[in-house]
């Protein structure tokens, strides 16, 4: 450890592993340390099942759960948008070669106590009970407008400059009712609350395009999920970092970051000090440099059946728009199964999560839990959401934000790219990744 590095990365969560990979690829000498004996931190998938039960202080699982090591349970539920930033990062860095994915089978949205499938083709749309016939026509016009809109071509704007007008104005122009707005903003644009309505429309239009571009890639839904769980993602980027010269140390407690004149110059573990020019880390390594800005509740649910009313889908997402249950933020439900190698044969892992709004967070997720049918085992976590108090320019300590309640990785990637820019002063150069990483030719 007693060497000098360009950067020391603390924690092997997804964000830190992506950063470590990008830094190594850019020619930096990187030391990557984790206090745990496993890779992934908060983004790990826990295996075997016994380990998960121990973690939550529950008595050991009985025989019915099958083999413990067939389970890989995520602590933070998320899906990848098929055309989203994480997939782009995976492709450009070659990390996609370490992983295999399945398309999530269906996306559902909650309306007046029951769930409806988000239509993926005209046949499903025709049969959908999400909106009435006239509304479907108005909605179609809106979708056509979104698809045709070119940001740099005013002719496609239909008299509404998306750079200036609000999303509410766009909805109003197409005469969309409140339910349709709800569905569009939360199930397609994937907003967590309604703040977007009074913000500039362009952002929302981009999000709807991302949704439909992602949907167009694999057809069943816009979401992908990796085999063996999300924990494979940080590991893939860690490997990228290692093959570009990054050094890994696990099970290494970190006592402090060493500063000189307010600037980080190293990291101390026991009597060893590793010198460096910069530190990148998650909030848990620097409690004095982050502020709590909220809480997220996540409930892992082990099921021995699919979710009712989802046509026995082996993987699904359900979005409960905030207004439907009189909240300020949406509730998310996700389900993956033994077909993704994350559970023993015949088993399913459901997850209900949301941003905490009250003193009694467990009561807040009740509408989500009620959709799941009988739950065999439940594990609840309420975690604090932290953000760094500064940009890190002076201290050269660059801190990631905690993982938020969103169900996909778009905010994760934005944070990573922003940290990389703050730390190195440039955007990541994707062409720095050697093209000889082996040919991918199927």
């Amino acid at each position: 450890m007693d060497e000098e590095y360009d950067a020391i990365v603390l924690g092997t969560g997804l964000k830190e592993c992506i950063l470590s990979g990008m830094l190594s690829v850019s020619g930096k000498k990187v030391l990557h340390v984790d206090r745990n004996k496993y890779y992934g931190g908060e983004s790990a998938s826990i295996t075997p099942l016994e380990e998960l039960f121990t973690r939550y202080g529950a008595p050991a699982p009985d025989q019915s759960y099958g083999r413990g090591r067939d389970w890989n349970v995520d602590l933070i539920p998320k899906f990848l948008m098929a055309n989203g930033s994480l997939v782009k990062l995976l492709i450009h860095t070659g990390v996609t070669k370490y992983l295999e994915f399945k398309c999530v089978e269906g996306s559902y949205v909650y309306k007046q106590g029951k769930i409806s499938k988000v239509p993926v083709d005209q046949k499903e749309a025709l049969a959908s009970d999400l909106m009435g016939m006239f509304e479907k026509r108005r909605f179609r016009n809106f979708l056509v407008y979104v698809q045709d809109l070119q940001e740099d071509d005013p002719k496609t704007w239909k008299d509404l400059d998306p750079n200036v007008c609000t999303m509410q104005q766009v909805y109003d122009k197409f005469g969309l009712d409140k339910n349709t707005q709800d569905f569009t903003g939360h199930a397609l644009a994937l907003y967590r609350d309604d703040d977007y309505l009074n913000q500039n429309a362009l952002q929302t239009i981009r999000r709807i395009k991302l949704y439909s571009d992602s949907l167009a890639r694999y057809g069943k839904s816009p979401y992908l999920y990796p085999m063996y769980g999300l924990g494979e993602l940080p590991q893939g980027f860690a490997r990228l970092s290692a093959i570009y010269g990054g050094t890994y140390m696990l099970d290494k407690p970190i006592d402090e970051i060493v500063y000189e004149n307010g600037k980080a110059v190293g990291v101390r573990s026991g009597s060893e000090i590793a010198k460096c020019k910069q530190v990148y880390c998650d909030p848990s390594y620097v409690p004095e440099k982050v502020k709590k800005t909220g809480q997220v509740i996540r409930c892992i649910c082990l099921l021995d059946h699919t979710i009712p009313n989802t046509r026995d889908a082996l993987s699904t997402q359900i979005i409960i728009p905030q207004k439907q249950v009189n909240r300020k933020s949406d509730i998310y439900v996700s389900l993956v199964s033994y077909t993704h190698q994350v559970a023993a044969k015949g088993w399913f892992v459901g997850m209900v999560s949301t941003t905490v709004e009250t003193e009694n967070p467990e009561a807040e997720i009740k509408p989500g839990l009620e959709l799941l049918g009988p739950i065999r085992q439940k594990f609840v976590t309420v975690s604090d959401y932290y953000e760094p108090i500064d940009e890190g320019k002076e201290s050269q300590v660059f801190i990631s934000k905690s993982y938020d309640a969103t169900t996909h990785f778009e905010t994760t990637c934005l944070d990573v790219l922003d940290i990389f820019r703050r730390g190195t002063g440039t955007d990541f150069d994707f062409s720095a990744v050697k093209q000889n990483l082996g040919d991918e030719d199927q």
């Binding site: 492709i91 994915f101 085999m227 290692a242 890994y248 696990l250 082996g438």
Partner: protein
């Protein structure tokens, strides 16, 4: 897709730091040998494909190197995922590297349950007249593992002896294993896939 796909088989190298895994990888990729543990030359390259033809059947071996992660940390469990074969490498001049193999074996059966496992004693050029690890030691190791080991080899990356024979033999084992499996397994549309850059020719996206 009309073209017949050559089945690709992932083969991983396992074993202690310094036993010659990267050297085997280098022999496999460009048939060279370097004396120093020079990591620069393989920087950024961690797996390599090569086609083998066994009894008229084409097979593509994709060999993976650890990336040196085993030096101070453990290898990620994803290294093992989807492996069809694992080569347990030790150094014939280093008994300790042989005695820790049971730990590596445990990792393989845990994370790459279905992989065929091979045993490889490397650095045979350093074996000398009083070998640190004897053939009898290797045999009794195989017996202790209840025949989990499909075959054993001795190689020298320095002279190149035995290296290509080993990979050819592994290819042969995999073709045989494949044949019986492909006959058993019907093709499901729920197969997982790799994400690839978008096809330029795809239709413009639409919500339908």
């Amino acid at each position: 897709m009309a073209s017949i796909k050559v089945p690709k088989q992932k083969v991983i190298l396992c074993g202690e730091f310094g036993v010659g895994k990267s050297s085997l990888f280098r022999r496999f990729t460009n048939n060279t040998f370097v004396t120093a543990s020079d990591r620069q030359s393989t920087l950024g390259l961690d797996h390599f494909d090569k086609e083998y033809s066994v009894a008229g059947r084409q097979l593509r071996l994709q060999l993976w190197d650890t990336g040196g992660m085993e030096r101070v940390a453990s290898i990620t469990s994803s290294y093992y995922k989807f492996a069809e074969a694992a080569v347990l490498v030790f150094s014939l001049d280093n008994a300790a590297s042989f005695h820790v193999l049971s730990q590596h074996l445990l990792d393989i059966v845990t994370y790459a349950e279905n992989a065929k496992i091979f045993l490889c004693g490397n650095k045979s050029d350093l074996e000398g007249s009083t070998p640190q690890v004897t053939d009898a030691d290797m045999e009794s190791f195989c017996e202790q593992c209840h025949n989990l080991i499909s075959a054993t080899f001795k190689t020298s990356c320095r002279s190149g002896e035995g290296v290509h024979e080993m990979f050819e033999d592994i290819a042969q084992h995999l073709v045989e294993a494949n044949r019986s499996r492909l006959e058993l397994q019907s093709i499901h549309d729920t197969e997982s896939f790799k994400v690839l850059p978008p096809d330029e020719s795809t239709d413009p996206p639409c919500l339908c």
